[in-house]
Amino acid sequence: MLASILASGLAMGAVYALIGITYNTMFSASRVVSFTAGQLGMLGGVFGSLFVLRLGMPMIIGLLFTFACCAIIGVITEIVAVRPVLKSLDQHLYVLSTLALALMIQQVTAIEWSTEPQPFPRIFGIGSGGITDERFWLPIVACAATIIGLELLYRRTLIGHAFLAIAEDNFAARALGLPERNLRIASYALAGMIGALAGFSGGALLLAFVANGFLLNFYGFIPVALGGLGNNRGAIVGGFALGIFQQTANFLVGGIFSSVVVFVIFIILLLAAPQGLFGASATRRV
């Protein structure tokens, strides 16, 4: 029993952590927290099921198409919902513009795809229901791969350094002549792919289900809020902690009340530490 709680907890935790990284990648490039992060996770599952099961593409082609589609949606987010409101960040219009876009994605998916959960293909066909089943370890592998990939990107490549520079100090980066706008678009494309990977690798757990969008928005934001906005390490730790905590609560008090428990604890923790457990302190007001 403990093993299965741990297995599903880590798997869900990996998905939450990936959505958290999606939030952070968009935030670092633009100081915008976007409601499309969870929708990208949902689309990862829907596109995967669409390309592989419905259109019969080979797995790897389906994955590449899913990456491409979600990257495009990431870029659309940047153009439609982020760029126009960047000038007035303090008015928090981005909350509304990205929410509007998330709602549109949600509605189009509900109407053109389905409002019911649809099956997701098995990727390798390894394991059959036990805790060695691929649906438990695939998200963890995907999460590990993303972490390693991002580390290499940020530490070893020039464009990665540029990403970091933008995240650290936007104005200084622009003063150095960095192409801030193109880097931001690239960040959003990257965020789209990370979100897609979350949905694709977690497809067997979450299915291709339109309602996952706002669910992932919420559960993916919890690790970000607790870990501090823009802090990937915090998001990963927070994501896995949330996954295991949620599955334990599931087992102890039942599925539906476990979400009440998660919510209440989330709010209490946030009220105690509004900047997150690893976040920076507040900015000056006057």
Partner: protein
């Protein structure tokens, strides 16, 4: 001069009554039209109109929260769900003997106000997106609980909604019942909007720092509003359940939440009429575009995006014809200090503000390093020094925005609460800001009235019901604000939107707002920055007139001429330390000051 001014004020008085009236008339027109609906259509349209009325009961409250206070509660369907289930469960008798539906509706209102506060609490500490997502989480949980708690809520199968006794069980009867409640709610929120509470909400939204400085306690204000909004939303839920005749958790989709907050945003912030029209339009939209019914939420989302990107003012801004009239171009600010006697009539005299050994560090920088300072009533105390010497930081310590690490700040021998800016107005300390913190979307008069918020006596409940104490408050604040505006010479701009004014005018409006709290001490943070030479001269005279009436002024400035002209005492700071302190004549010849700052 004074006679002329008060005659002008009287003319203004009637002008404002008519302005308030002209805002109320369209609301009356909407409800008169609504009364006619059953006579000119069929039962189907009565049903749709009932739905619009029920939605408006919720949106009317939500409007105060989103449109006025700027708190983006996107999951407010949770409170509709809660109200619907409380009313239905009590009326159906699932947990105790069946209750009269009216009593059930009342209980739902009480329950709603409790949960309204619980949902709203995170807003007191969290930033916008965090709050939005926490309301979203709450919405998910309420629906899931309704699904799971089968013994009470009937789970997925649901339960019948409450049935009200005759004549409210007919289409017409129920419609007029809902319409009456909607009209009552409109009236109450209108009263709030026109009150010091409504203005304080907008201040919290657009100029929270100024709200703190004028003594508005954000938590207390918001909690009262959350109570009210929650109650309205839950009552709307009870009516909704009765309208549906049968409720299941699926009836309360997130789409409904979307409709609610988009109705407010399409309507426009800080308006009552706009969101009312928004609610009606969004309720009717799917009816007129039947083939598009499935796409209605998509349409709402598109509307939201268009509104945010293209017309942030919403319907209310489109209907605001007054703000398109050009203003007179070559306006001059001519203060009338004689009016200050009336403006400062209720002022209490106080002691000395004393700073002793105050230390404040930002990271490794000692921004204020062991500073002693005495500021006396009836004196102008100038604070000068190069950039980064700690002038504004000291002002922020006195006004409570920064909390010093060591040292003490006393006023008349009594400790000031460190780091609590909202307590200063009540102690008689008012301030202005380096960049004027003005609410652009409110009128100049409303901006000034905000300064007197703590002088109001009526409770929120009295304001809701337009009771006498509330009306006395408003009359008093309006009179004081017109006097204060008159004293700085800007009363002709009283009903102009503040964002249409020039920078120099905003500086004087901030002073007028600060005078509204009848301060013992006035802290001015670079009031002359951005002013023309003749304006600086008039500002100087005006400050002297204020001080002549016993007020103490602390003046942080870079204009050395102004400082040496009007100050009684000057303190020079350098790198967070006091470099010199004395009369202007002493400072002018102080060797170190001349070499460090004034230049020889």
């Amino acid at each position: 001069m004074q006679g002329v001014a008060s005659a002008g004020a009287a003319a203004k008085e009637t002008n404002y009554a008519s302005v308030a009236w002209s805002q109320f008339v369209p609301l009356v027109v909407v409800f008169v039209l609504a009364i006619v609906v059953p006579f000119v259509s069929n039962d189907y349209w009565v049903l749709i109109a009932t739905r619009a009325a029920v939605y408006w009961v919720l949106v009317a409250g939500l409007n105060l929260m989103i449109g006025f206070a700027g708190q983006l509660a996107i999951g407010y369907v949770a409170l509709l769900t809660l109200g619907a289930y409380i009313t239905s469960v009590l009326a159906a008798g699932n947990v105790m003997p069946p209750v009269n539906p009216f009593i059930a509706l009342g209980v739902a209102g009480l329950g709603g106000s409790v949960f309204g506060v619980i949902v709203g609490l995170p807003a007191l500490r969290l930033r916008t997106f965090y709050f939005a997502i926490s309301t979203l989480g709450f919405a998910t949980i309420v629906t899931q609980t309704a699904l799971a708690w089968q013994s009470v809520t009937g789970g997925g199968i649901g339960l019948p909604g409450p049935e009200f006794p005759a004549p409210l069980n007919t289409h017409w009867g129920f419609y007029y019942f809902c319409l009456a409640i909607a009209a009552f709610c409109t009236w109450m929120t209108y009263n709030v909007a026109q009150s010091r509470f409504g203005r304080a909400l907008i201040a919290v939204r657009d100029a929270d720092v100024a709200a703190d400085a004028t003594g508005i306690s954000k938590p207390r204000l918001l909690i009262v509003v959350f109570l009210f909004c929650g109650a309205l939303a839950a009552v709307a839920g009870g009516l909704f359940a009765s309208l549906q005749t049968y409720i299941t958790p699926e009836a309360f989709t997130f789409d409904l939440s979307v409709l609610f907050f988009i109705a407010v945003l399409i309507g426009g912030r800080g308006s009552i009429l706009g969101p009312l029209l928004g609610t009606v339009i969004l309720t009717l939209l799917p009816e007129f575009a039947a083939p598009l019914a499935a796409w209605s939420t998509f349409l709402y989302a598109v509307l939201l995006l268009v509104i945010v990107l293209a017309a942030p003012g919403g319907i209310a801004a489109l209907l605001d014809f007054k703000s398109r009239n050009p203003l007179q171009s070559n306006r001059a600010i001519v203060p009338r200090p004689a009016l200050l006697d009336d403006v400062l009539a209720a002022r209490t005299r106080g002691g000395v503000i004393t700073l002793r050994n105050v230390v404040l560090k930002f990271g490794g920088v000692r921004a204020v390093d062991d500073v002693d300072l005495n500021i006396r009533p009836g004196e102008i105390h100038g604070l000068i020094g190069p950039n980064g010497s700690g002038k504004t930081t000291i002002l922020n310590v006195i006004s409570g925005f920064y909390r010093p690490e060591a040292g003490e700040v006393t006023f008349g021998g009594v400790q000031l609460d460190l780091g609590k800016p909202e307590t200063r107005a009540a102690r008689g300390i008012a301030r202005t800001f380096q960049t004027p913190r003005i609410i652009g979307e409110a009128s100049v008069l409303q901006n000034v009235m905000i300064g007197g918020t703590i002088r109001g006596r009526a409770t929120f409940a009295e304001t809701l019901l337009l009771l006498p104490r509330h009306r006395r408050d408003e009359a008093m604040l309006r009179k004081m604000a017109l006097q204060a505006l008159g004293s700085v010479g800007l009363e002709s701009l009283a009903d102009v939107r503040a964002d249409r004014l020039q920078h120099s005018e905003l500086r004087f409006i901030e002073i007028a707002r600060a005078l509204m709290s009848q301060p013992t001490f006035l802290l001015l943070d670079e009031p002359a920055a951005g002013l023309a030479a003749d304006e600086i001269q008039r500002l100087g005279q005006f400050i002297q007139e204020i001080v002549r009436r016993g007020v103490g002024v602390m003046l942080v400035e870079h204009h050395a001429d102004l400082i040496f002209d009007i100050c009684h005492h000057v303190t020079v700071l350098n790198l967070g330390r006091v470099l010199a302190s004395g009369t202007p004549a002493e400072i002018r010849v102080h060797k170190e000051v001349v070499s460090a700052y004034l230049g020889g």
